[in-house]
């Protein structure tokens, strides 16, 4: 009798924990593992890996379509962008990406994917419907960061060795301007109102805030973490909260994420995370930030309210990019 009761209890618990694993409010964080050719999927309710999905070679940047039905994956060493059907987890299509795609961004209308071709000194623009190359722009040496402004007017690419931001008019599909920034710019992120562009310079150890209207630098933020060699402070990924309060900057091998006041551009805090932190993603509520830590092979969860790390989650080898599938999508 007792045995049967235990069994029932266990089954009940199992059911309950099964439900907890995917409550209505839980989002899924997709992490690309550069050296495992997989994606790890983290459930935000439990902050545990619930699934691992095989993809192409050396997956780096990942991004959902605006309707969250597709996931675009830069499979750098396969020299393609893969399009995964989110419902089935299967690769549904591939896009011509040019050689060695590393980062990309999707236009808000879902139509144009701007892809950086690091080895070719070019940006390839692909029509996601017809899966054809619309245009290729010349860039400086080793383009990496790509960003499209929320108002869809501008696309930018950062060239690492050229240390330049290239500006493209998305409507006219023309190269408009080039702005020099500090050494080795890795990543760009527009503010929600499309008025500011944040650009991280890995070797310069800085983030440049650019005025989009004039395409000129407004402010250069320097980072200095007590007790950490300055040369190890190498800014890469950037995320901005939509309320305009915070900018988060991943500082690479310094193993910290900087919290920047997005109004004054003062550095508020440095949060210790895993080793060589590269990129980050915020939940839709912006209550948690997930960081990819390449060398330690894990993801740090940061609580945005307290600006404190909550948990480290072991994922695959060399986690690189992060993208969030909101609950119910």
């Amino acid at each position: 009798m007792i045995g049967k009761f235990r069994l029932l209890l266990a089954a009940g618990l199992g059911l309950a924990s099964g439900q907890w694993a995917t409550p209505a409010s839980a989002h899924l964080v997709y992490i690309s593992n550069e050296k495992d050719n997989t994606l790890s999927v983290i459930d935000t309710a439990t902050d545990e890996v619930v699934k691992t999905i095989p993809v192409g070679e050396r997956p780096r940047a990942i991004q959902f379509s605006k309707d969250f039905k597709k996931l675009f994956i830069c499979a750098s060493d396969s020299n393609i962008v893969q399009v995964m059907d989110v419902a089935t987890g299967k690769i549904a299509a591939t896009l011509p990406s040019g050689d060695d795609p590393e980062q990309f961004d999707l236009s808000p209308d879902n139509r144009k994917l701007f892809i950086a071709n690091e080895n070719d000194a070019a940006v390839t623009v692909v029509d996601t419907d017809s899966r054809t190359v619309i245009k290729q722009f010349d860039t400086g040496v080793e383009p990496e960061g790509i960003a499209i402004s929320p108002d869809q007017k501008w696309a930018i690419a950062t060239s690492e060795t050229t240390s330049m931001v290239h500006w493209f008019d998305v409507e006219k599909m023309e190269a408009i301007d080039n702005t020099l920034v500090d050494q080795r710019p890795r990543y760009g992120r527009f503010s929600k109102d499309s008025k500011l562009l944040w650009v991280s310079s890995e070797v310069g150890g800085s983030v440049t805030i650019m005025d989009v209207a004039s395409r000129k630098p407004l402010k250069v933020i320097q980072f200095d973490i007590p007790g950490v060699l300055h040369d190890e402070v190498q800014p890469v990924g950037i995320r901005l909260t939509s309320d305009g309060k915070y900018g988060f900057v991943a500082l690479g091998p310094s193993n910290h994420v900087a919290v920047v006041d997005a109004h004054t551009f003062e550095v508020l805090k440095y949060i210790l995370v895993g080793r060589r932190v590269w990129h980050m993603e915020l939940t839709p509520e912006e209550d948690k930030l997930y960081t990819t830590n390449g060398v330690s092979g894990d993801v740090t969860v940061i609580d945005v309210a307290s600006l404190a790390p909550l948990k480290s989650i072991k994922v695959g080898r060399y986690p690189w990019g992060a993208a969030i599938l909101p609950a119910g999508k």
Binding site: E142, T161, H166, N178
Partner: protein
């Protein structure tokens, strides 16, 4: 025989008037760089499997020009290289001399005496020379020249990097086997100085005087040479790659080989992958059809410095480029994981030194824990207080 080859034939000397006057970054700017190389006759070696490539250094300079032009096209700046290569026995000075007056920026791949002779010519006074081929300490010390910058590390930087690693590993007991050439002796002396600097110990020094072909008898000879004092590593000083390869696995004790063979400290290596280096390696391989070596990297870095100066300041006369290089504005990004700058007291490019095997980067110096009040990069090589260089004093 002297080869004078230009990627782009040089037009009238009038082109060079732009050097004299500062130009705005937005104005079209043509930057002409002279590459001069004195090839030397290599002494015969026991093994000839891996001779130095004939275009060592030159291909690095060419890649630098290509990279600069990729950037330059957005700033209306164009870069070209004129190449003067003197074969062994030919007189580089005589070949290069007619061209020297036309160039502010000159990349020199030559042994120390030739470099010094070039730097002391009236034609190169006030010009800027980049040493990419000579490791000699004296060029950074008593024989330093105000018109010479070094993008190649010095021997002391290499051996300091190696000894830092050995100390960190707690392998401080070194058995040194040194060749007899001037370069080998200089390498051995640098290693001895580094050991003294960081608290390692040369427990015994053996000079390689054998003149037989040891490839067949190394298994008998090397064990005899390497027994006696207890040691943690065998350090080899054989820059000409004559005997060094025969030491590994033939030592009496089971000890790693370091120095010019085995675990090698180097300014660059084809095995370096991090910090985006794969992209540079791939570009180089596509161009040169071989791996990138330290002298190639030094040439590339010199060209990148010139490119940075042109991009950032729009002024490319020798004095301005020199001032930019020695300023705290420079943070040269060169796939070494951190920004590089020059030592203001002797014109040496500060840089991490890579500790590599033939297929792996084992470590990068400065090794964690070796500190310096200015930057830990200055734990590598001779420091300012001990410098004998006077030419850089204000």
């Amino acid at each position: 025989m002297v080869n004078t080859a230009g990627w782009r034939a040089l037009a009238a000397a009038a082109t060079f008037v732009v050097f004299a006057a500062p130009a705005l970054a937005a104005d079209p700017l043509a930057i002409h760089v002279l590459y001069v190389e004195q090839k030397i006759a290599r002494p015969p070696t026991l093994s000839n499997l891996d001779p130095p490539p004939p275009d060592l250094g030159l291909q690095g300079a060419r890649l630098g020009i290509i990279d600069n032009n990729t950037t330059g096209k957005f700033l209306k700046q164009s870069f070209d290289l004129v190449e003067v290569v003197a074969e062994p026995g030919a007189d580089l000075i005589a070949a290069a001399r007619p061209k020297l007056a036309q160039f502010d920026l000159i990349v020199v791949n030559a042994p120390a005496p030739v470099l010094l002779a070039l730097a002391d010519l009236p034609e190169t006074k006030g010009r800027l020379l980049f040493d990419i081929g000579a490791y000699d300490e004296r060029l950074r010390e008593e024989d330093c020249r105000a018109n010479v910058l070094h993008t190649l590390p010095s021997r002391a930087m290499l051996t300091d990097a190696l000894v830092q690693f050995l100390v960190k590993k707690k392998w401080p007991q070194i058995l040194l086997i040194a060749g007899t050439t001037t370069a080998d002796k200089a390498y051995a002396a640098a290693l001895e100085a580094s050991a003294a600097k960081f608290g390692a110990k040369i427990v015994e020094r053996k000079d390689w005087t054998a003149n037989a072909d040891l490839r067949d008898t190394a298994a008998e000879e090397v064990p005899l040479m390497t027994q006696g004092a207890a040691y943690d590593v065998v350090a080899v000083a054989d820059e000409g790659h004559d005997f060094g390869a025969t030491i590994a696995y033939n030592s009496w004790d089971a000890r790693p080989v370091v120095g010019t063979h085995g675990l090698v400290p180097a300014g660059w290596s084809a095995v370096i992958e991090p910090w985006g280096a794969v992209q540079l390696q791939n570009r180089f391989k596509t161009l040169a059809k071989r791996g990138m070596q330290p002298v190639d990297f030094a040439a590339w870095a010199a060209l990148r410095l010139i490119g940075e100066a042109a991009n950032r300041t729009g002024v490319i006369d020798a004095a301005s480029v020199r001032a930019y290089a020695l300023s705290d504005k420079l943070q040269l990004s060169a796939f070494k994981g951190r920004g590089l700058s020059f030592r203001v007291w002797n014109g040496q490019l500060r840089q991490p030194i890579h500790l590599v095997t033939s297929d792996n980067q084992v470590a990068v110096a400065p090794i964690g824990g070796f500190l310096h009040q200015r930057t830990d990069l200055d734990t590598l090589g001779l420091d300012e207080p001990e410098s004998k260089c006077k030419a850089f004093k204000p």
